[in-house]
Symmetry: C2
Subunit: 380 residues, 2 copies
Amino acid sequence: MPTHPHFAPAVQTLRSSVYAGARPAAGLTPIPLHIGDTWMEPPAGCRMEDFRVADHPGMHRYTAVAGLPALRARIAELESARTGLETAPEQVLITAGATAGLAAAVGALVAPGEQVLLGAPHWPLIAGAVRAFNAEPVSVPLMTAVDSAEEAVACFERLRSKRTAAVYWNTPHNPTGRVMPREWLAALSDWAKSRDLWILSDEVYEDYVYAGEHVPTRPLAPELTIAAHSFSKAYGMTGNRCGYLVGPGRVIEAIERIITNLHYSACTASQLAALKALDGPGQDWATRACIRYSDLGRQASEALGLSAPEGSTFLFPEVSSALDERGLPGLLTDLTEQGVLVAPGPTFGPYPNHVRLCFTAAEPEQVRRGVEILAKRLGV
Amino acid sequence: MPTHPHFAPAVQTLRSSVYAGARPAAGLTPIPLHIGDTWMEPPAGCRMEDFRVADHPGMHRYTAVAGLPALRARIAELESARTGLETAPEQVLITAGATAGLAAAVGALVAPGEQVLLGAPHWPLIAGAVRAFNAEPVSVPLMTAVDSAEEAVACFERLRSKRTAAVYWNTPHNPTGRVMPREWLAALSDWAKSRDLWILSDEVYEDYVYAGEHVPTRPLAPELTIAAHSFSKAYGMTGNRCGYLVGPGRVIEAIERIITNLHYSACTASQLAALKALDGPGQDWATRACIRYSDLGRQASEALGLSAPEGSTFLFPEVSSALDERGLPGLLTDLTEQGVLVAPGPTFGPYPNHVRLCFTAAEPEQVRRGVEILAKRLGV
């Protein structure tokens, strides 16, 4: 045992910001393409100003840990319709963002020293959540590396060990903008079942598909899958910190035990906003946003000489042609000096020659300028 | 390694609700004295309805992980004045409630298998946070058991082991309503320094002191103390899930690494509400609430034949006289049938014959009725 006071081992493996490489240069208004956000304001009627104490007395008090009963019930209905699986309100857990939900799921399902296989490139925070609970994230190159369901399964199987407790994948995909085909998901789910592994299925961009279709994982492995969803991404409410998990009742109950002690509950007003969005103006807003995002994704990908994104709000260009002897840090420094912030590839797994950009994180005109600067540097 | 899929060991040691004993009986409107909340609405000007997109464009987007820079700076100023310790904004971390802050502090400072000594009776969720990170909470009977600073130190020292990484105490005290004397805090802090232990000092009720004075721990052990504070408790905003930690810069930076992956940040609108409360109507509201709470605490304690609370919003009566062969569960069942919900003593440590009640959790008239029912049962 080391001399106290020391930090927990987890701290040594974590960075404070996954975007530590990107800092705005003095004097320039930065174009923040490094964060997964939207420039759009949330639907009218679903903003904080729309929830008044006169209509919602006690709206600044605690809710139950698992969330407002009306919100859980509404989501259960939607989820039943969306997946064809009869889903009870007890299978839904409202969380302080999908991030908090996925982190708590790791806390409930993965013991210290166990491993979680992450379909890579992966959403950066899932690796951090696994490390925070003193478990080990293992990157499994997938979206940039394989072309078939069989290869996808082989990639995961190759890195599986006796210590593997769970697998994580996300679709529509952050950061590549691809959408996982049904056959891949079916084959991977069958494989996870055969290996008795939990599946953490991150579907927070499910409403943003521009080609193909989003396939939810739960129907493929209902007893093993914990699906993460986000009001942040669906309705432009990232700052509200409200999302939800859906899974088997006994698993949701276990995750609730962790949530109780990690953050207790999501913000009450954020839950009201989520319920309002589901009941009213959310769907229209998401439909309009989807058309707009699709255009922006196509324009950005064309400017960079990439395939158009099939979903999500990201592109993940390979940038080797723009690197000099300073490597990726040099490129990030140069771009930052020009006011363009992008996320470094290594935060997504073993990707020293990639960057991620979010094509909805700033006003479209700003994004266009940022992409132009990047394209010029890449020699496109 | 057990066969997968299994739950993490932490789950086995956690309950989903620390108030699992209390359920409202059918037909009766329950009087919810089991939760630490307030019936008062937050200050006018600091409610969600007061924050408009027109005035705060982007107010539904992400903030930095550590919180709004203006809020961190304002708290640093206040904390410098309150403690006499020059405190920089980098020493302040905004968290999704004090709960999320304390849990992340455990994650950053306590390794799996290590122990945290909890001054008992203790706030229930701290034990759960320690368990969630696969560490071991150790109850140290304190507020109900000792009469001097020397005894307090002896109690902690007796239960210290080589595995002890940190100590936790809270004042004004949840659940007993006592305020820890300066000499105790000074002696305990000196002891923690001599043993090289982290101090988690939970001061969320600092604004609610009715007798004596609140003594902040940071000036007594600035290099070792992480202090937790709450806008929830200060300004009647429990549902906003916004609080903060203050501590040494390098520790705050380490905790920020954990926060990034556990919940990313507190709700943006909640942070705006906190800043507004600090800058304007919060202090008046808290002053008025303090007078009101003091009256309510005195009335409730008189009705129960207890000493008046010195601070916080709780009483922790010993209820042996009301127990039959069914023990505490029997009493809780009976009270629930009469519509009165209280929190069971065992969630606060080794207290099988105590209950906790919050005398601000419902309208004063409701609280009065609930307390009357309990007093009658206790034969007061």
